[in-house]
Amino acid sequence: MIKVKSLCKVFGAKIAVNNVSFSVERGEVLGFLGPNGAGKSTTMRMITGYYPPTSGSVEVGGFDILENPIEAKRLIGYLPENAPGYADMTVHGFLSFAAELRGLHGDARKRAIHGAVEMCFLENVLFQSIDTLSKGYKHRTCLAQSLIHDPEVLIMDEPTDGLDPNQKHEVRNLIRRMSPNKAIIFSTHILEEVEETCSRAIIIDRGTIVANGTPAELKARSEWAGAVYLQLSAIGSAPVLESLGQLSGVIRTELLSEANGRLEVRAIPDKKNPNVNLTRAIYELSSQQHWQLDQIHTEVGRLDEVFRSITLPDTVKAH
């Protein structure tokens, strides 16, 4: 549904988006991750036809956004960053305006408004003007606008920004419910959101894609993926760490805490020389050494750690 090919956007001397390519099919939910100013919004604005790209192309449902903008835009529902809305209009007036521009008239328009209002829980504020709404309602009003024509492609710039935890949960459910017959792209800062709702995630940093895969694949890139966590009672940490470190497949060990003879240790696997049975090997080691093992488990990677390691802030990377 969405095909993005070597997209670039330059503002003056600043390269905001540099050679970004990806595609999203129907049924996929693509999470767009990246630090602030990485180029997420700029990319989305180019896909929705708000910014013309400096170079590269965007195709939505087979229509090029520059050559057939109207046909492409018809397929897209868009929730811009900060969920803008006309301050002096009522929620109903605003949705009615959006429906009209989407070519919905008469009964079809009524049904569309009704459906969007129901989906976004706006019944209570339907005839309130937008500038009197709380942030959550304002956000949902703009979300309703993007869903009003039941678009095949849904692009949302931080759809859960400024919502309370319940509302966030609702929006995620909504995305999941809609996902089977739409192509969805959304950007977020919240990593659990990606794990929960996305079938694929792209991490973008300083305008370029630095990672692209399923949440599980991305997590596997974490240094901690496959690490073995131990909680045990032993006399002193040094011998424990030493014998763990000598095991094949362990690249290094970490002492997480030590108190009253109780240790928490993590053994980080060597990705280049993996040991498929690392957990079992460690278990056997502990019984040989007569450690009193309280807990042992294999860790899955953590997305936030992957995120941090590939999108280090400028100050760190400069060194």
Partner: protein, 247 residues
């Protein structure tokens, strides 16, 4: 057909925007009070002793100088300030349709304000027997004058998210369009340069072209002038909006 539906949707929203806020009512009241004041007090409507609306129309270029930019200043500035421009321009419509829709809505609003001055017309018809053809021509001219100012305000409004800057810029441009053909200024120019140059400069002025309408002369050239000012300003609006997004 589709284009017209989009333009209609934009117009409806814009007009609704005027009337749900106090802008419309404040504007209409001030406009009517000022036209009355200028016509009857400063324009010496009664002392003239003639059945015409000359004293009414003479003031329009000056009155519109401040009132029309006040109507037009929000057209695009507000969209940029609220961020709704992104929403509007990612809808399936062309930038053109949005520009024309907004312009027509505001023009219609100004036409309504102008139509509400009908008591002046009734007054002059009760008191004497004016040439209503001349008056109609005056109204048509006034509407086009307002349209030209409005298109310029539309253009300056696209330049900035700040309505005050947009207002001041359009007042300055409109003032220039007045002064280029304002008699005291042309007299002054006449003394320092040759008449051909002065004529060329004056032909850019709304005063020169509005004058014909006031005398009841509907000249094609005056129409062409006002429509080209409108066309040019709206075209420039489109260019400005496009260039802002191009980065």
């Amino acid at each position: 057909m589709n284009a017209w539906n989009n333009i209609k949707a934009i117009m409806k929203r814009e007009l609704g925007g005027y009337f749900t806020s106090p802008i419309a009512y404040v504007f209409l009241i001030i406009f009517l009070l000022l036209t009355g004041f200028f016509t009857f007090t400063i324009g010496n409507f009664f002392e003239r002793g003639e059945a015409s609306l000359v004293s009414f129309f003479t003031w329009h270029p000056w009155l519109y100088l401040f009132l029309v930019p006040a109507v037009g200043m929000r057209l695009w500035s507000e969209e940029r300030r609220l961020g709704t421009m992104e929403l509007l321009l990612t809808m399936p419509l062309t930038t053109w349709q949005a520009i024309v829709g907004k312009f027509l809505a505001s023009w219609l609003f100004l036409a309504l304000a102008l139509a509400l001055t009908f008591p002046v017309w009734i007054t002059v018809n009760i008191m004497g027997a004016p040439d209503n053809g001349i008056i109609l021509a005056g109204y048509v001219g006034s509407l086009f004058l307002a349209g030209a100012y409005l298109a310029i305000s539309c253009m300056t409004s696209a330049l900035t998210r700040n309505q005050v800057i947009s207002f001041i810029l359009s007042v300055v441009i409109c003032l220039f369009l007045i002064l280029a053909g304002y008699t005291p200024v042309t007299d002054l120019l006449m003394r320092i340069s040759n008449p051909v140059v002065v004529d060329v400069i004056a032909s850019f002025s709304v005063m020169t072209h509005f004058e014909g309408f006031q005398r009841g002369v509907i000249d094609l050239r005056d129409f062409v002038f006002f429509t080209s000012v409108i066309g040019f300003a709206l075209f420039t609006t489109g260019v400005i909006i496009r260039s802002q997004r191009a980065g």
